[in-house]
Amino acid sequence: MTDTSLTPQRFFSEKFGIAKESLGRILGGALGKAADDGDIYFEYLVGESISLEDGVVKKASKSISQGAGVRAMAESRTGYGYSDDITIENLALAARTAHAIASETNKSGALAVGQAAQTPHDLYPVHTFPTDVPAEAKIDLLLQIDRIARAYDPRITKVFASLGSTQKIVLVATAEGLVVGDILPLVRLSVSCIAEDGSNRQTGSHGGGGRYEFTTLLADNRFEHFAREAARQAIVNLDAVEAPAGYFDVVLGPGWPGVLLHEAIGHGLEGDFNRKKVSAFSGRIGERVAAPTVTVVDDGTLPGRRGSLNVDDEGTPTGRTVLIENGILRGYLQDRLNARLMGLPLTGNGRRESYAHIPMPRMTNTFMLAGESDPEDIIRSVKHGLYAVNFGGGQVDITNGKFVFSASEAYLIEDGKVTRPVKGATLIGNGPDVLTRVSMVGNDLQLDEGVGTCGKDGQSVPVGVGLPTIRVDGMTVGGTQR
C-alpha cells in the first residue's frame, strides 16, 4: 500500500498546505539581520508497538506525532519555538520566539555556515514500511518467538516479546535555502525470558532491528536467533556465580560490547562538550588516547543500520568520521552550531529526538576497526580475568571521563580458558586512558544487532555500536566476590 512516489516535500506541502515560498518568508523572519543560522524542521511520525506475554498478544498501541519548529542561532545562542499544530500562523509564532534570541545579540556580521558537501544517501530503501504491515503478521511472528524460546529449554517459564515499528518523515528548510527531506523506517524486536530452576530465577534478553523492512526480520533465521539467544542467556545465568570485585584483565566479546566505545570516548568527542571545554578530551586532538592498534570511527552511512541516516536532522548528509586513528585522537562529531563556532567541518551528526528538541552533536554507528589477533588467542592470553559478551546500558560523566557499562552475560577466564558464568556486574573505567590499555584487537569485528538507544540531555536517539574481540589490561569490575 506504500505510495512509492511519496516524498517529504510533497507530503508536507499536501498535508499542511505550506508552500516553499512561505518557508523562506518564515525563516527570514526568524533570522532577521543578526542571526548566523537557522532552520525550520517538520516531522511526522507514526509509531506502533505490539507485545506478547503469557503466550498471547494482548497489547497493541499506535501513536502519531507531528510538529514543526523554527530555530534561529546567533553566535552561541539558540532560539527555538515549536508547535504540534502545523499552520502558517503557528510557524510565524515559533519564528518570533526563535528570533527573540537573535535580536538580543549585540554583534552582527554573520559567520559562514559550512556547506553540505554531498547529496543525501539512500541507505534504507523499502517497498513496504514496517508500520504498514498488518498487525496479524506481527502477531504471528511474536507467537512463533514465544514457541521457539520455550522450546529452547523447559526451564524457560516466561517469554516477553515486543515489536516496535516507526515511520518518520522529516523535512528541513535551511538558511541557505535548501529544502532537504528524508523518510525513515525503523523496526526493533525485543525478546526477554525468565528461566526458573527451583527458587533460582534469572532473566535473559536479546533483540535487534534496523532501518529495514519487516520481512528482513524473517530472513536468515534472524528472529529465531533473537528468541534462542534470549532463552540461552537466561539459562546460562541459572548457573552464574557471584561476579568478582576488583581490578582485572577484561576481554570484551565482539558486537554489542562496543557500547564501551560509545561511553568511554564517543560522548567525550561530541562537538558541544569540546567547544565548551567541559570534556575530558577537550583540546586533545592529535594526542595519543589509545593503543596504536586502535582505530575508532563513527559512520552514519551503513545501509539499513539502526544508527544510520541519509541526512542528519539539520539536512547535512551523514559521513564517516575517524575519531581515533592508530591510537591518536583525530576528530569531533559536529552539528551546525558547534562546527560554525569551532571553525571545523560539518560531520552530519546534528541529531534531535523530535521536533520538540533542539539538535545536538550525536553519534550514529560507532565502532572499532578489526585488528589482527585471533579471538581464541586473546582469551588464551589472560591468566585470570573476565570475559564479557553481553551488556545492558552504560553511562558516562564526560567532564571527569569516568564511564560505566553493565555486563548481563559474563564468564571468568582462568588460565586462558573461559570457565564459569558470573552474575551481571558493572564495569567502570576512565575514558581518556581505558583504550591505552587495549593490548590485543581481534580480527572479528561485529556490529551490534540493532537495539541501541542513546540518551543525552533528555533526548533519545537510535544508535549502533561495534567491536572486535579486545583485551583491556585492567578495569574495575563491580562484583561482590572478593
Binding site: 494482548k58 497489547k59 519548529g69 532560539g79 564511564f403 552474575k423 551481571g424 563491580g478
Partner: protein
C-alpha cells in the same frame, strides 16, 4: 476547554458505534518553556504548545491504545478506525477493562497543583533568575572555572480524562525546575556537579543563590577524587541517592513487575523485606506535591498507601489490570503513556527516622558517603545491584577525601535488610524522596 470535553464525548461515541464495549480518552495540553544560560549569557530559549490525545478501546476483554498530536478531524477518524482494528486483532484477557463505574473519583479535589499567577512570568524575568543562579555558582570560588550552564524549565498542563462510564474529570498542573551545573577545576582536572530545585508553585522554588552555591560546593568537594582499594564497608546514601534506591524499590513493588514475575519481591507480601526502621509510603494526595494528582490515569481517586511498614511489605502499587490479575484492589496508581496504562508511583517516600545525618556519618569508622550513582546495573528479578559510584570517604566518623571510579555492589534483599540507620532529614525534591540512610555493608570495588 469545553471543546476537549465535546471532542472526548464525540470520539467515545464513535468507538461505541464501531462496536467497542468500553473506551477511555485522556487529553493533555501543555505550554512549556526552557531558558538556558551559560557563562552568564543566554544559551537557548525554547517555548512550545503541545497537545496529545490518548485513546484506549476495549472489545470485550481485548484492547488497544493509541495516541496522536494530530487533532484534525480526518486524523482522529483514522485513529478511531485504526484503534478499533488493533483492538479486534489482539487476544482477549479477562482482567482487561475499565474500573467499575462506581469506583470513579466522586469529586475532583483541588490539590493545589497549579500556579495560575506564574503564567505571567516573562522571558526577561526567567533569564534574570537563571543568571542569578548560575552567577552564584560561578562567583562562589575561583576554582569554579567553567559551566555546563543553568536552566529553568516551566510547564503548565491541563489534563482531561473521560470514559464510557460517563465520567469526565479534569485538572491543571504546573511545574518549575531550576538547575545549575558548574565545573570546578584544579591542575587541569575537572569535576562537574549540579543542584536543582523543583516545585509546582513558582514562589516555592528554592532561592536561586542557594541552588547555585550548593551546586558549586558539590562540584568543589569532588576535586582531587581518587580510587580506593576493593573492600567491604558501610555505605551512607545521601538523600538524593537514598531516593534513587527508593525508585528501584518502587519498580520492584509495581504490580506489573509482580504479575510478570520479574521482581525479587514476588510473593513477599506480609514478609519482612527490610530493616525494622524502614517504612515506605506512596501518597498521591499531598497538597502541592510533585507526584500528587486528584485522580489516576483511569479516573480512580488517588490515595495514601503504606507500602512497607517497619520493614514488612504491606502493599504493591497497582492499577486496575494488575489488581484484578493479582486478586487485589487498585491503589490508584495507573499512569498513562504512549503504550496505554502502566503503573506509576505518586509521592513515594521513606518515612524519616531520628538520627541526624552527622550522627549517621559519625557512626562509620571507615566507609563511603555516596553522592552519585552512574549506570543501570540493577536486576529487579534477582535483586542484584552493581553501580558506578562517587562520594566522600568516611574515616573515624568524618568526611575526608573524595572518591571516584569505584562501584558499589550487593543484593537488594540484603541491602534493604541492612538499612541500619534512617535520617531525620526528609525533604521532598521530586516525586521520590528519602532521608540519609546507612547500609551496614556493601562490596566496594576499586583498585
Amino acid at each position: 476547554m469545553g471543546i476537549e470535553h465535546e471532542l472526548a464525548r464525540d470520539l467515545l461515541a464513535k468507538v461505541r458505534r464501531q462496536g467497542a464495549t468500553e473506551a477511555d480518552i485522556l487529553v493533555v495540553e501543555t505550554d512549556s518553556s526552557s531558558t538556558q544560560v551559560r557563562l552568564r549569557d543566554i544559551e537557548s530559549l525554547k517555548s512550545a504548545q503541545e497537545r496529545r490525545l490518548h485513546l484506549r478501546v476495549m472489545f470485550g476483554h481485548s484492547a488497544a491504545a493509541t495516541s496522536t498530536s494530530d487533532f484534525s478531524m480526518q486524523a482522529l477518524d483514522r485513529l478511531v478506525d485504526e484503534t478499533c482494528t488493533l483492538g479486534r486483532a489482539t487476544a482477549s484477557d479477562d482482567y482487561l477493562g475499565l474500573p467499575n463505574a462506581e469506583s470513579m473519583v466522586a469529586s475532583v479535589p483541588d490539590l493545589g497543583l497549579f500556579d495560575e499567577a506564574a503564567q505571567a512570568l516573562d522571558v526577561d524575568e526567567k533569564i534574570a533568575l537563571v543568571q542569578r543562579a548560575e552567577a552564584a555558582a560561578l562567583d562562589y570560588d575561583p576554582r569554579i572555572t567553567n559551566s555546563e550552564g543553568a536552566g529553568l524549565d516551566t510547564h503548565f498542563s491541563q489534563i482531561i480524562y473521560a470514559n464510557t462510564h460517563g465520567f469526565v474529570g479534569e485538572y491543571r498542573t504546573s511545574s518549575f525546575n531550576l538547575a545549575v551545573s558548574p565545573i570546578a577545576e584544579v591542575g587541569g582536572a575537572m569535576q562537574r556537579d549540579s543542584w536543582y530545585g523543583v516545585s509546582r508553585h513558582f514562589k516555592h522554588l528554592e532561592d536561586p543563590e542557594v541552588i547555585g552555591t550548593t551546586a558549586a560546593k558539590r562540584a568543589l568537594r569532588r576535586l582531587g577524587a581518587r580510587k580506593i582499594p576493593t573492600q567491604e564497608a558501610p555505605v551512607v546514601f545521601d538523600p538524593e541517592m537514598a531516593a534513587s534506591l527508593l525508585r528501584t524499590l518502587a519498580g520492584a513493588v509495581s504490580g506489573t513487575s509482580i504479575y510478570r514475575g520479574s521482581s525479587f519481591l514476588l510473593n513477599r507480601l506480609g514478609q519482612q523485606i527490610a530493616a525494622e526502621a524502614v517504612t515506605v509510603i506512596d501518597d498521591g494526595t499531598i497538597p502541592g506535591a510533585l507526584g500528587s494528582r486528584p485522580f489516576d490515569g483511569e479516573g480512580l481517586p488517588t490515595r495514601r498507601t503504606v507500602v512497607v511498614e517497619h520493614g514488612v511489605l504491606q502493599s504493591y502499587l497497582l492499577d486496575t489490570y494488575c489488581a484484578r490479575r493479582l486478586g487485589l484492589i487498585s491503589t490508584g496508581n495507573a499512569a498513562r503513556d504512549a503504550a496505554g496504562i502502566s503503573v506509576g508511583a505518586a509521592n513515594f517516600y521513606l518515612v524519616p527516622g531520628t538520627s541526624t545525618p552527622d550522627e549517621i556519618i559519625g557512626s562509620v569508622k571507615s566507609g563511603l558517603y555516596l553522592t552519585e550513582l552512574i549506570g543501570f546495573g540493577v536486576n529487579l528479578l534477582t535483586g542484584d545491584y552493581s553501580r558506578g559510584a562517587v562520594g566522600l570517604w568516611i574515616e573515624n566518623g568524618e568526611l575526608t577525601y573524595p572518591v571516584e571510579e569505584i562501584t558499589i555492589a550487593g543484593n537488594l534483599n540484603d541491602m534493604l535488610r541492612h538499612i541500619d540507620m534512617v535520617g531525620n532529614d526528609l525533604v521532598f525534591r521530586g516525586r521520590t524522596a528519602a532521608p540519609t540512610l546507612k547500609i551496614g555493608r556493601m562490596t566496594i570495588a576499586g583498585n
